[in-house]
């Protein structure tokens, strides 16, 4: 018991304030890409060819789809003019799928906070059921981390629950394999309405590196999505930031 208290004292208080006072992410962290505006050299498609997931198109200037992006930075490395750079900005979540397609003209992911009845229902207490549908355990790991002492998701009134019937929404990871399609549907159906749908990670948003694989069914198009959280996997700060913005718990 003495040892226990000694260890507790030594290790100290570990819950980090959110939002953090200064961005804690290291220089090499790859967050929101910044694309310089202006035309590229004629017929240059180097970034497009370097990209594993077809996230980049080049006609009429570089466009980068964060929903497909794995944040590998192969494009930045390949571009002869340094037009694509990765910042340490971890705020990547968006309520609009279109706002995830960046160009050089200031489009950036944007979260519209819940309004009215939805805000009243979920704003101060949100229970989520997570379904991994082909996730590699990267997104799952960084979702799990939110419940550890460092991030302490519970202090915001957000909690992952065991039963879909106790949940206000579903968090989907993975490209949705054919073999998980029916289990995902059953879980979604079991959550009482009104419900939120949150997609976490490039695989859930677009198939990621597995897009188009014959074993993958993809996220069903008839399920409306409330929040997209890009990344491979998204950093825990990215997920937390997205959830809190959706609930209207962070300022502008």
């Amino acid at each position: 018991m003495i040892d226990l208290l000694r260890a507790r004292l030594r290790q100290g208080y570990r819950t980090q304030p959110f939002p953090p006072a200064t961005n804690p992410l290291p220089e090499r962290f790859r967050g929101l890409p910044v694309i310089s505006s202006g035309p590229c050299a004629e017929s240059c498609q180097t970034c497009m060819e370097a990209c594993p997931t077809g996230a980049i198109t080049t006609d009429g200037g570089v466009k980068l789809d964060l929903g497909k992006c794995l944040f590998c930075s192969a494009c930045a490395e390949a571009c002869p003019e340094g037009k694509i750079l990765f910042s340490q900005d971890y705020a990547l979540a968006s309520t609009s799928r279109e706002a995830l397609v960046l160009n050089g003209e200031g489009i950036r992911p944007k979260v519209e906070a819940l309004q009215g009845e939805m805000k009243r229902l979920f704003g101060r207490s949100l229970k989520l059921r997570q379904v991994s549908a082909g996730g590699c355990n990267g997104c799952e790991a960084d979702l799990n981390v939110l419940s550890t002492v460092g991030f302490d998701l519970g202090r915001f009134g957000i909690q992952f629950v065991a039963s879909p019937r106790h949940a206000d929404g579903i968090v989907v990871t993975g490209p949705v394999t054919r073999n998980m399609a029916s289990a995902l549907r059953a879980t979604y159906d079991a959550i009482p309405a009104p419900k939120l749908v949150i997609l976490v990670g490039a695989c859930a948003l677009s198939g990621g590196t597995f897009a188009g694989s014959p074993a993958v069914a993809g996220m069903p198009t008839d399920i409306p999505v409330d929040l997209y959280i890009p990344g491979c996997p998204p950093h825990p700060l990215t997920i937390l930031d997205g959830l809190l913005r959706l609930l209207g718990r962070l300022g502008k």
Binding site: D3, L4, A7, R10, Q11, P26, R28, F29, R30, C51, P52, T53, L70, F71, C72, S73, A74, E77, F86, Q130, V131, S132, A133, G134, G135, C136, N137, G138, C139, E140, A141, D142, L143, N144, V145, T148, V149, G150, F160, A162, S163, P175, T177, R178, N179, M180, A181, S182, A183, T187, G208, T209, F210, S213, P214, A215, V216, C232, P233, H235
Partner: protein
């Protein structure tokens, strides 16, 4: 080693034409003989070619540090007498041949789908699959999954119980099957790399290193020593993060919350060290064919060495709490025993094998890359229970800490990467990497034009899931969560 095979070293390639192709009966008996001499089956897969189908088997001889490659000519009837009947460690490989390759291993004692690749079978799980059922008075069945209670990958567990006692556990996976091997064979180079990173997201460095070693062997690329060293550094950080996380999860499962939260936080600290090196907590973006993309600059090395002193102290404190608590030990000891002969029979790998007294560790037995210069002797226990699997992790944590403390100050200098180059035609290569979960194997072969004609991934979980099922026999069903965590296997790695 018999003359019918080609003896290879880990991380090398040979000319396919130099491997003697045997008719199936001879192939089968030489593979079985190799197994009887202490060999372990590390990969088994087909290659379709203009002259028909070849079956390749890689059998590791740990004592000799070699991997024996056998080739068999499969006839157009696409059947052969199963290896599994005599050699249980072939069970998953042969089920894969059957469901993915359209090849029938006749007399396989339990020929059932491994991953239900929906394309070929047209089935979905578990609707039209008949589970093994025990019969008798008071026998009851418990079904769990695919969607579990926490944030966990999907899989289905079917218990046959008599009261609390588990008579039999059947583990049916495949929900995570994404067709990774198909992409690894056919997709363009950038996508092959990101797919290798996503086979198992907690073992990125292990899988990408095996992937890169195979590419480099096929192309004959001279990988710089510094790249090998940085891969090893990242691999040990991956081991530290996951082992710490596992000890925390085990503590949480028996309700010992201080150790659970301390280890959970420490796991994150190791992930953050990896993030400082390559920008991603899981090591994505670091390893590429030809080398690595990021250097360990003096600032990172200094900072890491300083962080490790504090981490070592906190880890020692926390491990002391966990292993010094009588109530924890009471739950760990004697729970979920995997006996050594069962582990040998099933070809179990990694900490789970070492906890059952099987002293295998790729870093020692088949060193490649930096491990040729840095010794890492296997850490073993004999009891095969949850305690042993936890303790082996703690011993390996201390070993990995020492590895980093010893090697970070004196990493070899030089380039980070070379052009991987083009693959040579008609070659076959194999790479084994000791990931935190165990032996991670990639193997590939090229055709006459240098294109990939076969690509096979063996995550350690392929061997070990059956080990977990066996460890539960005769145990209490209420011990399953603890036992499961003590193995902590990958669903995605198994299903690919």
């Amino acid at each position: 080693m018999s003359g019918s095979c080609k003896a290879m070293a880990n991380g090398t390639a040979v000319v396919v034409g130099d491997v003697s192709v045997q008719p199936m009966p001879a192939f089968r008996s030489s593979v079985l003989e190799e197994g009887a001499r202490g060999g372990r089956l590390v990969s088994l897969f087909p290659m379709e070619g203009p002259d028909g189908t070849l079956l390749f088997a890689f059998v590791a001889q740990d004592a000799m540090g070699t991997v024996a490659l056998f080739a068999g000519a499969l006839g157009s009837e696409r059947t052969y007498p199963a290896l599994t009947a005599q050699w249980p460690q072939a069970q998953a490989f042969e089920r894969d041949l059957w469901e993915n390759g359209g090849i029938t291993p006749e007399g396989h004692p339990w020929l059932k789908p491994l991953c239900f690749p929906s394309l070929r079978s047209g089935q979905t799980i578990p609707a039209d699959y008949r589970y093994f059922a025990a019969e008798g008075e008071e026998v009851h069945e418990v079904a769990v999954g695919p969607v579990h209670a926490g944030i966990i990958e999907p899989g289905h567990f079917r218990f046959q119980c008599h009261g609390e006692e588990v008579l039999h556990l059947e583990i049916q996976l495949g929900f995570q099957h994404r067709g990774a091997e198909g992409l690894l064979r056919n997709a363009p180079a950038p996508r092959r790399l990101t797919t290798a990173e996503s086979i198992a997201g907690d073992s990125v460095v292990a899988h990408t290193t095996a992937f890169a070693l195979v590419e480099e062997a096929l192309a004959g690329a001279p990988v710089p020593a510094r790249a090998h060293a940085l891969r090893a550094v990242a691999l040990e950080l991956e081991r530290l993060a996951n082992h710490a996380g596992d000890l925390g999860a085990l503590a949480g499962d028996v309700g010992y919350l201080p150790a659970a939260s301390f280890f959970g936080r420490l796991r994150g600290d190791f992930l953050n060290l990896t993030q400082g090196l390559c920008g991603n907590r899981f090591g994505r973006g670091l390893v590429i064919p030809g080398g690595v993309r990021f250097d360990a600059d003096p600032g990172w090395i200094d900072g890491t060495l300083k962080a490790l002193t504090v981490l070592r102290r906190d880890m020692e404190d926390t491990a002391g709490l966990l292993f010094g608590s009588a109530s924890v030990q009471n739950r760990f000891e004697g729970t979920g025993i995997l006996y050594k002969d069962t582990a040998e029979l099933l070809g179990v790998v990694g900490p789970a094998a070492r906890a059952s007294g099987c002293g295998r560790d790729v870093r020692q037995d088949h060193p490649a890359g930096y491990y040729r210069f840095a010794q890492v002797p296997p850490q073993m226990l004999a009891s095969g229970d949850v305690y042993a699997r936890a303790m082996v992790r703690w011993l390996e944590i201390q070993q990995s800490l020492r590895f980093l403390e010893d090697n970070l100050p004196s990493l070899p200098s030089g380039f980070l990467r070379v052009e991987a180059g083009t693959r040579q035609p008609g070659r076959i290569a194999v790479a084994l990497v000791e990931g935190w979960r165990g032996e991670t194997v990639h193997a590939a072969a090229t055709d006459a034009s240098g294109d990939l004609a076969a690509y096979k991934v063996t995550d350690p979980s392929i061997h070990n899931w059956m080990g977990l099922a066996m460890a539960m026999r005769g145990g209490a069903i209420s011990d399953f969560p603890l036992c499961n965590k003590s193995f902590n296997l990958s669903y995605a790695g198994h299903d690919r």
